[in-house]
C-alpha cells in the first residue's frame, strides 16, 4: 500500500512535466511541417535572446514587461481601494445601494474596451488613459464581490455583535468586513487577470512600450516569433501573479488554511 502511494506521488509530480513536454512536441511537429503557421521553439528562443541585443523602442524585453506591470499595478491599486470602498457602500448601506446601485448595474456590462474612444478624446494617448481603462475593467469584479460579500454577512454574526452591544462602526469593521474578506479577495484575484487582459488591449492601441505593444509590433512586421515570445511571457507573468496573490491570501485570511 505504501509503495503504491509513493508511486502515485511520483506520478503526480511527473505528470505536469510530461504534459508540458507533449505540448512542446506538438509545437515542434506543427512548426516543422508548416513553418508558415508558427515558428519553431528554437526560433522563438533565439528571437527571445535577440531582444536583449537589439532593444525594441529602446527598451529591453524585461523593460516592456515592467512597463505593462507598472500600468497594471497602478491601476489595480486604484481599483482595489476604490472598488472595496464602493462595494462596501452599496453592499452595506441601503441608501448607498439605492443611490448608486442602478448606475453601477448599468455601467457594469459595458466592456472596458468600449471606453477607449471616449477616454482617448478626454485624456489623449499618454499613460493616464491606459491606466484608466485598466481601472475600468478591473474595478468591476472587486465591486461585485465586495458587494455580495457585504450583503451576505451572516445575520447570526451581526446578532452576536448586537448582543455585545457593538455600535454600527464596530459591526461594520469588526464583523461585516472581516467575514466578507474571503469573497473580497476572490474579487481581487479576478481583477488581476482582468487587469492583465485589459492592459494588453490598451497597449495594442497606440503604445510605445509594454507586452501588448510587442505583439502589435510583431504582427505589423510579420515577426511571429516575437508575438510568440510575448505570448509566452504573458502566460508566465500571469501565472506568477496568481501564485503571488494566493500567497497574499494566506497572509490576509489565515483562517482559510486547511487544518
Amino acid at each position: 500500500m505504501k509503495q503504491r502511494n509513493l508511486f502515485l506521488e511520483i506520478l503526480y509530480a511527473v505528470l505536469p512535466a510530461v504534459s508540458i513536454a507533449c505540448l512542446l512536441v506538438l509545437w515542434m511537429g506543427v512548426s516543422g511541417n508548416r513553418p508558415d503557421l508558427i515558428p519553431t521553439p528554437a526560433e522563438t528562443w533565439s528571437r527571445f535572446a535577440d531582444t536583449f541585443d537589439k532593444p525594441i523602442m529602446r527598451l529591453s524585453f524585461f523593460g516592456h514587461i515592467l512597463a505593462s506591470l507598472r500600468r497594471v499595478m497602478t491601476a489595480l491599486l486604484i481599483s482595489w481601494s476604490a472598488g472595496i470602498l464602493f462595494g462596501i457602500l452599496i453592499g452595506w448601506s441601503r441608501t448607498g445601494k439605492s443611490v448608486f446601485g442602478s448606475i453601477f448595474n448599468m455601467l457594469r456590462p459595458i466592456p472596458p474596451l468600449a471606453w477607449i474612444p471616449l477616454i482617448t478624446i478626454w485624456f489623449g494617448i499618454g499613460e493616464t488613459p491606459k491606466i484608466l481603462i485598466v481601472v475600468i475593467g478591473s474595478i468591476v469584479p472587486v465591486i461585485v464581490n465586495t458587494q455580495s460579500g457585504m450583503e451576505r454577512v451572516e445575520q447570526l454574526y451581526l446578532d452576536v455583535g448586537t448582543v455585545f452591544h457593538a455600535n454600527s462602526r464596530q459591526l461594520l469593521f469588526e464583523i461585516a468586513v472581516p467575514s466578507a474578506l474571503p469573497t473580497i479577495l476572490a474579487g481581487i484575484k479576478t481583477s488581476i487577470s482582468t487587469g492583465w487582459m485589459v492592459v494588453l488591449a490598451a497597449e495594442m492601441l497606440g503604445a510605445k512600450s509594454g507586452v501588448g505593444f510587442l505583439i502589435t509590433r510583431g504582427m505589423d512586421s510579420g515577426d511571429t516569433a516575437l508575438v510568440l515570445v510575448a505570448m509566452i511571457a504573458i502566460g508566465i507573468v500571469g501565472a506568477l501573479l496568481a501564485v503571488f496573490i494566493s500567497f497574499v491570501e494566506r497572509m490576509i485570511c489565515p483562517w482559510l488554511r486547511k487544518k
Binding site: D159, G161, V163, A166, P178, S179, K259
Partner: protein
C-alpha cells in the same frame, strides 16, 4: 444549596409580546435571584426564543417590564451575554480573539482583557489552542469558545438558547458539566432555554415551565437535588416525569 434568600437580580413583570395580532407571550412574571441558574422549558414553538430575545432587548415587549437590579434592562448599562443556538464563533478570529471580542467592544483596558481571557482559556482547557482558528477545532471546542466568550464578560445576565440542541449525547453531558463549572466559577446569573427536560433537571436551580402559545408560566419548580446530579436517582426521575406531564398540552 445556596438558599432562597439571595437578592433578586432580574424581575420580569407582566411581560407580553404580540406580533401584530398574534399573541406570543402572555403576561409573564417571575424573578431570578442573583447567581441563579434558571432553565426554561416548554413545548416546541411556544415562544421560547421570543422570550429570550425580549430579555436581551433584541426586540421590545408589547407591554410589561424587565428590570435588572431594579432598573429597566439596558444593554448599554447592563452586561448581557447571549449564547445562540447555532455555532457562532467568528471564523476569522483565533480562539483568544474570539474570547476577547466582547471585552474589546466594551473597551476594557488591555491588561484586564488579557487577564480575563487567559483565565478563561485556562478554565476551558484551550490554552494551547489559543492561536488556533475555530475551523481547526472540533465542534465541541467551538461551542466551548462561544460559551467562554459569554462567560468571560462576567455578565449580569447570561442567556443561552438551546446551546446544545445539535449535539450528540456524549458531547451534551460533557458540555453540561462544563457550563455548571463555569457558572460556579464566575457566579453569573444564567437563563438557559432547552427543550430537553432531562437537561433542565440536570442543570437548573429553578425550572420555569412555559405553556403552549400564547405562552404563560405554568409552573416554577425549585430543583434542590445535590450536585453532581444523577440521571438515575429516583428523585431526579420523578421530577423529570412531573415536568414532562406539565408540558404535555394534548
Amino acid at each position: 444549596m445556596m438558599g432562597n434568600n439571595r437578592e433578586v437580580k432580574v424581575e420580569v413583570k407582566n411581560l407580553t409580546k404580540k406580533f401584530d395580532d398574534l399573541l406570543v407571550l402572555n403576561d409573564i412574571s417571575f424573578n431570578i435571584r442573583k447567581g441563579e441558574f434558571v432553565c426554561v422549558v416548554g413545548p416546541t414553538g411556544c415562544g421560547k426564543t421570543t422570550f429570550l430575545n425580549l430579555l436581551t432587548k433584541l426586540i421590545e415587549p408589547t407591554s410589561g417590564e424587565l428590570l435588572i437590579d431594579g432598573e429597566p434592562a439596558d444593554p448599554k448599562k447592563h452586561n448581557l451575554a447571549f449564547v445562540f443556538q447555532e455555532p457562532s464563533a467568528f471564523q476569522w478570529l483565533t480562539v483568544e480573539e474570539n474570547l476577547a471580542f466582547g471585552l474589546k467592544i466594551k473597551k476594557l483596558p488591555p491588561d484586564e482583557i488579557k487577564r480575563r481571557v487567559d483565565n478563561m482559556l485556562e478554565l476551558l482547557g484551550l490554552t494551547k489552542f489559543r492561536n488556533a482558528y475555530p475551523s481547526q477545532l472540533s465542534v465541541s471546542s467551538e461551542q466551548r469558545i462561544i460559551i467562554g466568550r459569554a462567560f468571560v464578560m462576567n455578565p449580569d445576565l447570561l442567556l443561552m438558547d438551546e446551546p446544545y440542541g445539535q449535539m450528540d449525547i456524549k458531547l451534551r453531558y460533557y458540555l453540561e458539566d462544563e457550563v455548571i463549572r463555569l457558572w460556579k466559577e464566575t457566579g453569573s446569573t444564567v437563563v438557559f432555554i432547552t427543550h430537553n427536560i432531562e437537561e433542565a433537571v440536570y442543570l437548573a436551580e429553578k425550572v420555569l415551565i412555559l405553556t403552549n402559545k400564547p405562552a404563560t408560566i405554568k409552573e416554577e419548580i425549585e430543583v434542590e437535588l445535590p450536585r453532581p446530579r444523577d440521571f438515575t436517582d429516583p428523585a431526579f426521575i420523578q421530577l423529570r416525569t412531573h415536568i414532562t406531564d406539565q408540558i404535555k398540552w394534548w
